[in-house]
């Protein structure tokens, strides 16, 4: 990776930290510790399940929200503040700017997820008083959540490269929702015939499939995740993020910034 990309990525990370993005960790810690105590008192025998389900769901939702709301402003904010022209007047290629922004945001989310993961494991130890081998599956779920973030980041950047922040947020969030229903979309496509079927199937494969990344419920019951799924999800996330980033670069390279 070129030094220029690393600089842009580290600046993006610093900017996110300065924007108090990591403050969400406080809300997360309060939510998790509150839930660990509350559910122990008002429910029966699900304290550990709640910590895993709520912890990982929060990691995912907080991360997606951060990815969307920071990602949509990464390009447009630089144009609005005119800082982009300063950056591009130096020997920085437009594609390096986009890729650097992507890695900066992804890095922010990975650091955020790392601290949240510590919170999940601390809460788990608090309710269970010990760790068992099945708890290591939480790491797989966290890995899948990070893969999900990579896709969301790349989509936010894609929309941010040609659209206003508000519209980018709407587009990215809509794709996140649609992507959560991707398997249903394929089911609907299979019910149609002819050209409609072809179009529906194409649309179903074009939107990101987020449902395959969600293994929270199964790992909370200690059910193992197939190694093949880990490899496939990794490949899929990398390919999809590359596709969306390429789109962003394509648009940004040809955009008239005057």
């Amino acid at each position: 990776m070129s030094a220029r990309i690393v600089h842009i990525a580290s600046n993006t990370f610093r900017e996110a930290v300065r924007d108090r993005v990591l403050y969400n960790l406080i809300a997360f810690a309060l939510l998790l510790s509150g839930a660990a105590i509350l559910f122990g008192q008002i429910s029966i025998d699900i304290e550990k399940l709640v910590v895993i389900n709520l912890g990982l769901t929060s990691v995912s939702i907080f991360g997606v929200v951060i990815a969307i709301f920071i990602g949509i402003g990464l390009v447009s904010k630089e144009i609005e503040k005119r800082t982009l022209y300063t950056v591009l007047s130096r020997p920085v290629r437009r594609w390096e700017f986009i890729v650097g922004k992507f890695f900066g945001l992804a890095g922010t989310l990975i650091v955020n997820t790392f601290f949240m993961a510590i919170g999940v494991f601390v809460a788990l130890f608090y309710v269970a008083h010990k760790f068992v081998a099945a708890d290591s599956l939480i790491l797989v779920a966290l890995y899948f959540i990070i893969l999900e973030f990579l896709i969301v980041c790349s989509l936010a950047l894609l929309f941010s490269s040609f659209s206003s922040p508000l519209l980018s947020a709407v587009f990215t969030f809509s794709l996140f929702i649609i992507g959560s229903f991707a398997e249903d979309l394929r089911g609907f496509a299979a019910m149609t015939q002819g050209v409609t079927r072809w179009l529906a199937t194409s649309a179903a494969y074009l939107v990101p499939n987020f449902s395959a990344f969600n293994v929270i419920s199964s790992i909370s019951h200690g059910q193992p995740v197939a190694g093949q799924l880990i490899v496939s999800n990794t490949l899929y996330a990398l390919l999809y993020a590359t596709m969306a980033l390429s789109g962003a670069i394509l648009i940004f390279e040809n955009r008239n910034l005057k």
């Binding site: 008002i42 429910s43 029966i44 699900i46 389900n53 709520l54 995912s60 449902s211 969600n214």
Partner: protein
């Protein structure tokens, strides 16, 4: 600078005062329309819709619905209600959202099966619930045990209960007592003896303190029921032998060779009534007893002595 500080202090005071006042007003509004916050409602009754709406986070939603079911049952149970209309739908939603949430089948069936006020009095819904649980978790021996439990305790179907205990005993890592239970069902062993074994097994294998306390209450009640039955039989024998009722518990104990005055699990002596009935001194202390109650006695809502 001073003026800004004064403004800040005033704003802080205003904030606290307004917050306290708005809470007081809201409290008043709640009193005017109490049904608004206490009304039972199941806004979404379709598990499929809920699953879709959860965007894949169905595990957390199942935990929330399970907690709702526990709270719903607890509230109705506390009020001594005989209407548990939402309990079965809440449990269905919970288990459809997370078919591997074994705890919801185990304890959900215990909420559904017993007759009011101890439960919803819906053993057939309890059977449906655990049957769905077994379909999704065929390796959970506890579910076969719970289903057999419902057939035995609520429906008195010893043959079916025996079959289920037998099936459960074949599941890998099943508790050995399932084989014993299956054998007891086959022999039609004494009802108290089998019931005691079932509740003892629940007490020993449950993790939750409330469930253990519930099992302990049943065990205490079984002992009282059995004691009262035996003492009542002794009174009958005394009557046949002497042609009159015993004048006191001491006379009955001496005539029947019972060492000392018989006492309940709390150490209180059983009462011999003038008409020859045996009564428990403090029936409120034994939630689930069916014998030794004074005529017309109405049990209070159950309360458990939680044991860790």
């Amino acid at each position: 600078m001073k003026q800004r500080r004064a403004t800040s202090i005033s704003a802080a005071i205003c904030l606290v005062a307004a917050l306290a006042a708005s809470d007081a007003v809201l409290h008043h509004v709640d009193q005017i329309r109490p049904q608004a916050t206490l009304e039972d409602a199941l806004y979404v009754s379709s598990p499929k819709v809920l699953r879709r709406a959860s965007l894949g986070y169905d595990g957390l939603l199942a935990d929330i619905y399970w907690t709702r079911a526990v709270q719903y049952f607890g509230r109705k149970h506390h009020d001594g209600s005989s209407n548990y209309n939402l309990l079965a739908p809440l449990l269905d939603l919970t288990t459809q959202l997370d078919p591997h949430l074994v705890v919801a089948y185990e304890f959900g069936a215990n909420f559904l099966a017993p007759a009011p006020p101890n439960g919803a009095g819906q053993p057939e819904r309890a059977i449906q619930l655990i049957t769905f649980g077994i379909q999704n978790n065929p390796d959970e021996w506890r579910l076969y045990y719970n289903l057999g439990f419902v057939y035995y305790i609520e429906l008195k179907d010893y043959r079916r209960a025996g079959e289920l205990f037998e099936r459960g005993s074949r599941v890998p890592n099943a508790h050995p007592f399932l084989k014993v239970l299956a054998a007891q069902m086959a022999q039609h062993a004494g009802e108290y003896e089998t019931a005691r074994m079932l509740w003892s097994a629940t007490y020993e294998t449950a993790q939750d303190a409330n469930i253990r306390a519930n099992a302990m209450e049943h065990l205490r009640a079984l002992r009282v029921d059995e004691d009262v039955n035996q003492l009542q039989a002794a009174v009958t024998r005394f009557g046949h032998r002497t042609g009159r009722l015993p004048a006191s518990m001491q006379e009955l104990a001496a005539a029947e060779g019972i060492p000392g005055i018989p006492v309940d699990p709390n150490g209180e002596a059983y009462k011999l009534m003038p008409d020859g009935r045996i009564e428990v001194r403090h029936p409120d202390d034994f939630t689930f007893i069916t014998r030794g109650l004074r005529p017309g006695y109405k049990a209070p809502p159950p309360r458990f002595h939680t044991q860790k």
